[in-house]
């Protein structure tokens, strides 16, 4: 963007600079920021930005990164039991990609002045959240396919507009993430199709998984528009481009014909095409369940967080070793040989 670089903006307490002068300077920066957002320019790390914009982005990007990391668990649960070597390779690659997405996103968050350690600490202590969807268990192999199709499908619907998010580093991370996610989604769909067209037992396994993952996937878009605390401001700042309900409707409209092509049904008796609206109508979401899961009472909340904390604690001595080794050898080459 063409905006000013954050230098002296907001430096109160500088001798000889009056409060009114600071306020005027602040207003000038805000005007430049607002104009840049209005013109669809990207805000970059060194640009001035309102503190609330910064905080809102840190919250959203961190939650997104945490979701990638916690989201490894329900799928990793099936790596050792994947039923063919091809499926096993696909699943391993996917879980590896998720760790990579976590890394991009923590880097994007770090451009806003926080650190990965600080964010992980907030995840481990429950001060920052991750997507509610990962608090549901993967009970059969078909759940891996259903997650690919529905959960990744919902994530893509949410994330594609984020490729045009006003904050540059986040938008660029999303471009990379979305490419890989759409690949995973196609593979999930294809895994589910193989089950649906397989034996009777496989078909039943696929249907059962879709029945369990459909509603939680719709909840991934967040609360309805009239209850969404951050939506209006995020849209004004062009962090978000569409409302929760708008994206949820878009997802349903895409998913229904896909379910038909799969030969599977969706567990909603109210689901039907509305000619007048040009959209599918669908039944009411159980928002009490959604709030309950967010509060920590979902089927796997404790398990997911405990496992993450455990991995971090168990790895402490490894990280300490790496730090100690780096410190000992900071003046030498990588193999302990003196640098020329």
């Amino acid at each position: 963007m063409t905006a000013v670089t954050a230098g002296t903006a907001g430096t109160t307490g500088v001798p000889g600079v009056s409060d009114t002068a600071v306020a005027a300077e602040q207003a000038a920066y805000e005007a430049v920021f607002d104009a840049a957002v209005a013109a669809d320019e990207r805000i970059e790390p060194r640009d001035w930005m309102p503190e609330a914009y910064r905080a809102s982005l840190v919250r959203q990007i961190a939650q997104h990164a945490h979701s990638e990391i916690i989201g490894m668990q329900p799928e990793a649960n099936w790596i050792t039991r994947a039923p063919s070597l091809r499926r096993k390779a696909i699943l391993m690659a996917k879980v590896q990609d998720e760790a990579g997405h976590g890394l991009y996103l923590y880097s994007a968050a770090e451009t806003l002045g926080t650190s990965r350690d600080e964010l992980l600490d907030k995840l481990h202590s429950g001060r920052q959240k991750y997507s509610s969807i990962f608090n549901y268990p993967t009970l059969t192999w078909a759940d891996v396919g259903a997650i690919g199709w529905l959960v990744d499908g919902a994530a893509i619907t949410n994330q594609v507009p984020l490729c045009r998010c006003s904050y540059g580093p986040y938008a660029r991370a999303m471009v990379r993430v979305c490419k890989e996610e759409s690949f995973h989604q196609r593979q999930g769909y294809e895994a589910l199709l193989a089950l649906s067209r397989g034996t009777e037992a496989q078909h039943a396994m696929a249907q059962d998984a879709v029945d369990r993952w459909w509603w939680p996937s719709l909840m991934m878009f967040g609360p309805p528009d009239d209850e969404s605390a951050h939506s209006a401001q995020s849209m004004a700042w062009k962090i978000k481009r569409h409302s929760n309900d708008e994206l949820r409707q878009r997802f349903v409209d895409i998913a229904v014909p896909q379910a038909e092509a799969l030969g599977l049904t969706l567990p909603d008796p109210d689901l039907r095409w509305n000619e007048e609206r040009g959209h599918y109508d669908f039944g009411p979401i159980d928002w009490a369940e959604f709030r309950d899961v967010l509060k920590g009472n979902g089927p796997c909340n404790d398990q997911r967080l405990s496992k993450r904390r455990q991995a971090h604690e168990d790895g402490a001595w490894v990280r300490a070793a790496a730090a100690a080794h780096a410190e000992k050898h900071k003046h030498t080459g990588k193999d302990g040989e003196a640098q020329a």
Binding site: Q202, K307, G315, K334
Partner: protein, 245 residues
């Protein structure tokens, strides 16, 4: 009665099965780390190595027959992997020691195979590049853990000792593998001695085989944790006979 040609084909099959099983089983063990690694970068690295090994296993097993039948429908007495790769992950140091011992061996083996003109030369030429990365990864971590903190040094020491008894088997002749096992063994010892020395660790002095005669895994004689690993790996596939996935 088998002709020289079919004897040769059988020998290649035996070699591909042995190397394929090594890669399959170690890949599975590394897959167990997903979601539990000490840092995110290691989630990526361990999965990456597991994927490389799984890729090698799929090519090698496909030379023998149907990869899924071979992976999912054999019982433990029919697996030909060395016992080293089936050892449980233990802590991160055990996983790294297992990687150091195995990838050093695999690097030498694929190097020799790639240099020859045998039926596995093409596969080896591709795999040796992957394995060079695996070896470097294991070496770097051996240095960090061995020459890190007193705790990491002690853990790495324990791990190197505990797995030492499984290393002798790596150099037993394998039918159909046209390599110089004795030369590989001395090169392996030299390389491992060098890395452990730089990591301030001592080379273990215990025996390099267990009570079984050397070559046990290659003959289908495995350690107790292996059966349980296979039970988990094969359960779903075996529950749906004839299904495709």
């Amino acid at each position: 009665m088998s002709t020289p040609d079919t004897r040769e084909a059988t020998a290649i099959t035996a070699a591909a099965l042995a190397l394929g099983d090594d890669a399959l089983v170690l890949s599975h063990r590394l897959g167990e780390w997903a979601g539990s690694a000490p840092v995110l970068e290691e989630e990526v690295a361990l999965a990456n190595i597991a994927l490389d090994l799984l890729g090698q296993a799929r090519i090698l097993l496909s030379l023998v027959g149907d990869e899924d039948e071979l992976a999912y429908l054999r019982e433990e007495r029919s697996f030909r992997n060395v016992q080293l790769v089936e050892q449980p992950n233990g802590d991160f140091a055990h996983t790294i020691a297992r990687q150091l011992y195995f990838s050093t061996y695999q690097h030498l083996l694929y190097g020799q195979l790639a240099a020859g003109d045998g039926p596995l030369a093409g596969l080896a030429a591709k795999a040796v590049k992957e394995v060079a990365y695996h070896r470097d990864h294991a070496e770097q971590w051996t240095l960090r853990l061995g020459d890190g903190t007193p705790e990491s040094h002690e853990r790495m020491h324990q791990a190197c000792e505990a797995l030492w008894r499984y290393t002798g088997e790596l150099f037993q002749p394998v039918e159909g593998l046209d390599v110089d096992h004795a030369a590989m063994e001395s090169a392996w010892l030299e390389s491992v001695t060098d890395v452990l020395g730089r990591a301030t660790l001592t080379v273990p002095s215990g025996p390099r085989t267990g009570a079984w005669r050397a070559g046990a895994g290659r003959q289908g004689l495995h350690t107790e944790p292996f059966g349980r690993m296979l039970a988990e790996m094969q359960h779903l596939h075996r529950s749906h006979p004839g299904a495709t996935w």
